[in-house]
């Protein structure tokens, strides 16, 4: 039987000092500045709970994005103590009492901690055509095409990306090349490349990522893999894809 009950406070509450990078680009008078809030910690408190508490009781103009608050939708990525991560699944008790929060760099700032990752992801998907390309007509009344169980699992492994943008925020190349597709984009290509239902050839994939905004812009420093909240195997996927693309490039 379980020995610790996570719903019980074990110690007297700490006082958190949360410093947030504030800026509202909609307001011409706004200049970026740090603002520090003080908040009493509660058991099992996440940054989701903490930020909402601040908004409701201290500053109703505070902007941030949460949707699922369960670590599955990718809305709430921000820079937490210097590192990109999902705020909703960060328990405050895993952090020191002084916490610094900033919006993800690289993406368009909406205000405070809210950035427009959605817009960027959509244009990435449009550019890389992240959907199954097939000329087969499928009769949905009939048995579906078979697939090896391991292959379905392998595809799902790569499909777990939640488009949170952490990898792009942590990527040196992205900071220098505005149009870099990021680990998120290369992972998407790897996912469709693995999927036999997608009939695109390596040449077709090369046209999408065979340049410095794609696979050849990546410096393999792997900031991306370190921060990916879904622990996607970005390193091995990027390396594999690069080998394949080099081959196409040479032929």
């Amino acid at each position: 039987m379980s020995t610790v009950n996570p719903t019980e406070a074990q110690q007297p509450p700490r006082t958190l000092k949360i410093s947030i990078l504030r800026h509202n680009p909609q307001d011409p008078a706004s200049v970026p500045h740090m603002q520090t809030f003080t908040l009493e910690e509660a058991p099992a408190m996440t940054l989701f709970v903490a930020l909402n508490d601040l908004r409701e009781h201290q500053d109703p103009s505070l902007q941030f994005d949460f949707v699922c608050r369960a670590g599955i939708c990718g809305s709430c990525a921000m820079v937490i103590n210097g590192r990109p991560g999902l705020a909703c699944r960060t328990l405050t008790h895993t952090l020191a009492p002084e916490i610094t929060l900033a919006p993800l760099p690289f993406f368009e700032l909406i205000g405070d901690l809210s950035v427009n990752t959605g817009k960027w992801m959509r244009s990435m998907s449009e550019r890389l055509q992240t959907w199954i390309h097939s000329t087969d007509s499928v009769d949905i009344k009939r048995l579906e095409a078979r697939m090896e169980p391991e292959l379905a699992e392998a595809i799902y492994e790569l499909e777990r990306c939640i488009e949170c943008g952490c990898c792009v925020a942590a990527c040196g190349t992205a900071q220098m090349r505005e149009d870099f597709v990021g680990a998120v984009g290369m992972n998407r290509i790897a996912r469709f490349r693995l999927d036999p239902r997608d009939q695109r050839s390596d040449e077709a994939f090369y046209d999408l990522i065979g340049d410095d905004d794609g696979i050849f812009g990546c410096m393999s420093l792997l900031g991306c893999q370190d921060v990916c909240p879904k622990n996607l195997p970005l390193q091995s996927q990027i390396a594999f894809l690069r080998r394949k693309m080099v081959k196409v490039g040479l032929s």
């Binding site: 039987m1 379980s2 009950n5 996570p6 719903t7 509202n24 307001d27 058991p43 099992a44 996440t46 908004r55 409701e56 109703p60 103009s61 505070l62 902007q63 994005d65 949707v67 699922c68 608050r69 369960a70 670590g71 599955i72 939708c73 809305s75 328990l91 008790h93 909406i110 205000g111 990752t117 959605g118 817009k119 992801m121 959509r122 998907s125 449009e126 959907w131 199954i132 097939s134 499928v138 949905i140 009344k141 009939r142 048995l143 579906e144 095409a145 078979r146 697939m147 169980p149 379905a152 699992e153 595809i155 799902y156 499909e159 777990r160 939640i162 488009e163 469709f192 999927d195 997608d198």
Partner: protein, 658 residues
């Protein structure tokens, strides 16, 4: 005044909205999807468990077909569902799964040979046939006779939503993010689109369309603790309600999930119990077999949730600073199984509780989970009261769930209803009937009305705090309109919600920005949410029986004689503080499955006067037909109700198509 014209306006970018948009686009109509957030972040992404469709390929699904799925769904609904709609649904669900497979969803597949599984906490060996190898497999989910729930590991909703999100991109459908519909444009007969606010700039736009679809998801966030995403606030229901003519159906039908973690309210999938996880009390005792000897932990959700609440009331809960809870024990499944099949659950335990579920029990309690009620529609998805207004997905009351939906039936509903409703919308857009003959005066009237409302709020000197009103509403709903309900408590809830509604007309803001302004958003939403909350509480007060998830302690029987009917709520006048209720009878004489015992919970109901007669008819027919298709056709023809593209039999290993 910004005006955008399109053929089909889809409000909502979850599974239901996206599938609808793709459907009409394929038929050649322009569609625009609006969403509060990037579409792929919609609540649909959270569905971990799976999607029901009677493919019957895996051994434990053998013998499954539309008939079995139909019966499970109708029983689950406690006979509240529209049985013709359920038939339309079960016949389309296999097609929907197969369509999604073609669009790239990596459904988990049957692996031939033997494998170990755990059923009712016992290890069993399941042997899969060679001829099923590589077909889509199914898992167990509460309330179903067969293992029918198709899944991708435990990220089903995520995979489905990404596949559909990418299809919308492939079809070049604009999905406009960070947009909030505030009001429908209509003249009392016909809906012409919506007034929409940009959540970044605050700008208003009038979207004018031949057909408008509400696919905004559920209203779980009326409750203090909910498993839903925080944007499931019932604004779509409010949009329909505030027209004064469109009706909402069965709003009091609200489901609770037995196993959300406390305090965060994050759900651990039903798959935990389906795979053999157990519920234990403060003494570590497995209590469900005492209450439900046959189904145990796998009885339908409403039953398990109530049994858990009952058990905690007996003092068997574990005390904590967030209230009582019980334990979910999945340690019995073993680490390998958990890490492979229940990975999201493991992550949730680590990130939100700091525990390891392979060795530690998970603190859980019943939490608001699904809302069966919604915008009342016909089988076509169109509102019976407002032409050109459609709704589908969790936002709608179509009505295939009645008073309780089965796990895995709702993501299935989102895509199935999207497939079906988009065809009817396309038919409508093809017909001269859909022509837009509206004056810009009408658009301007609605535009100015919304603009004035926002300005009033921004400049108000009122002294009410939007966030505080919200908290009060949430706790009233949780405490008095929850799992167990009684007349006096519901009456108090209605009175208190009415008082809050009046107070919400006097909100003052601290933040006066007209662009991005979270407080302004909270203010206009709470005004809408209180109306929706009143439809739930008032509907629950009026319904003096227990049916499905609606459980009245003072009226514990299901009363078919008086209550075999759907509640309809409308909001006649802006200044009203209560909805107007009316009812729609369900016709026993046309039911394929006449009302009876659900097979779990307590056998406790009052029969409808027609039930016996209809039962005799059904039995007579059963003797006449040996073929299941001709029997079905004789009992309740439905195929003519489906659009052409969704008709026809579904192939199975055991039922090959010629």
């Amino acid at each position: 005044m910004n005006i955008v014209y399109t053929d089909v306006l889809v409000i909502g970018g979850g599974l239901a909205g996206l599938r609808t948009a793709v459907g009409v686009k394929r038929r050649g109509h322009e569609a625009i999807v609006l969403s509060l957030i990037p579409a792929k972040r919609s609540h649909s992404a959270a569905a971990q468990g799976g999607m029901q469709a009677s493919l019957g390929s895996s051994t434990m699904g053998e013998g499954d077909n539309e008939d079995v799925h139909f019966e499970d769904t109708v029983r689950g609904s406690d006979w509240g569902a529209d049985q013709a709609v359920v038939r339309m649904f079960v016949n389309t669900a296999p097609k929907a799964v197969r369509e999604l497979a073609a669009w790239g969803v990596p459904w988990s597949r049957v692996q031939q040979g033997e494998r170990e599984s755990i059923i009712n906490a016992e290890k069993v060996t399941i042997r899969e046939k060679a001829e099923a190898h590589g077909l889509i497999t199914g898992r167990d989910f509460g309330g179903t006779k067969k293992w029918r729930t198709c899944y991708t590991s435990d990220g089903t909703g995520h995979s489905m939503l990404y596949a559909l999100g990418d299809q919308a991109i492939a079809y070049a459908i604009p999905v406009i993010e960070r947009q909030e519909a505030l009001a429908l444009i209509h003249d009392g007969q016909r809906c012409y689109g919506a007034i929409v606010r940009d959540l970044i700039t605050g700008a208003l736009t009038a979207y004018v369309a031949k057909a408008t679809t509400i696919a905004t998801g559920g209203y779980g966030r009326l409750y203090e603790v909910s498993t839903s995403a925080i944007i499931c606030e019932g604004i779509g229901a409010a949009l329909a309600l505030e027209t004064g003519v469109a009706t909402l159906g069965n709003m009091e039908a609200v489901q609770f999930h037995p196993t959300a973690i406390i305090p965060a309210g994050i759900l651990t999938t039903e798959g935990c119990r389906g795979d053999g996880g157990l519920l234990r009390d403060v003494d570590g005792y497995r209590f469900m077999p005492d209450y439900e000897p046959e189904k145990k932990e796998l009885a339908s959700r409403d039953v398990v949730s109530r049994r858990m609440t009952e058990h905690m009331r007996k003092g068997k809960g574990v005390k904590s600073r967030y209230g009582d809870h019980l334990w979910l024990d999945i340690t019995v499944l073993g680490r390998a199984h958990i890490e492979k099949n229940l990975r999201e659950v493991k992550e949730i335990c680590e990130y939100f509780l700091g525990i390891d579920p392979a060795t530690q029990w998970i603190p859980v309690r019943p939490t608001q989970h699904y809302t069966m009620g919604g915008v009342r529609t016909q089988h076509t998805g169109e509102s019976p009261n407002l032409k050109g207004l459609y709704s589908c997905g969790e936002a709608a009351c179509w009505d295939m769930h009645g008073f309780n939906r089965l796990g895995g039936n709702s993501v299935a509903e989102t895509v199935v209803s999207g497939m079906i409703v988009s065809e009817f919308i396309a038919d409508f857009c093809d017909s001269p009937d859909s022509e837009l003959n509206l004056s810009t005066g009408l658009i301007r009237e609605f535009y100015q009305r919304e603009s004035a409302k926002l300005n009033t709020l921004l400049n108000s000197t009122g002294n009410e705090d939007a966030f505080a009103l919200r908290r009060q509403m949430e706790s009233i709903m949780m405490d008095k309109v929850g799992i167990f309900r009684t007349g006096p408590e519901l009456q108090t809830a209605v009175d208190e919600l009415q008082a809050l509604l009046t107070r919400s007309r006097n909100i003052g803001l601290r933040c006066h920005a007209s662009g991005a302004n979270p407080e302004l958003v909270a203010a206009y939403r709470i005004q809408k949410m209180l109306k929706v909350a009143l439809t739930v509480a008032y509907g629950a007060l009026a319904r003096t029986e227990s049916r499905g998830a609606h459980s009245r302690e003072d009226y514990p029987q299901r009363d078919d004689q008086n209550w075999l009917k759907r509640t309809l709520a409308s909001w006649k006048d802006e200044n009203d503080t209560l909805p107007t209720l009316s009812y729609e009878d369900l016709d026993v004489m046309s039911m394929e499955l006449p009302p009876g015992f659900r097979g779990y919970g307590v056998r406790n109901h009052i029969d409808h006067p027609d039930t016996e007669r209809r039962q005799a008819e059904v039995e007579a027919r059963r003797k006449e037909h040996s073929d299941r298709f001709s029997l079905q056709q004789a009992l309740m023809p439905y195929e003519h109700l489906l659009p052409e593209s969704c008709r026809g039999r579904n192939e199975r290993l055991s039922e090959p198509l010629s």
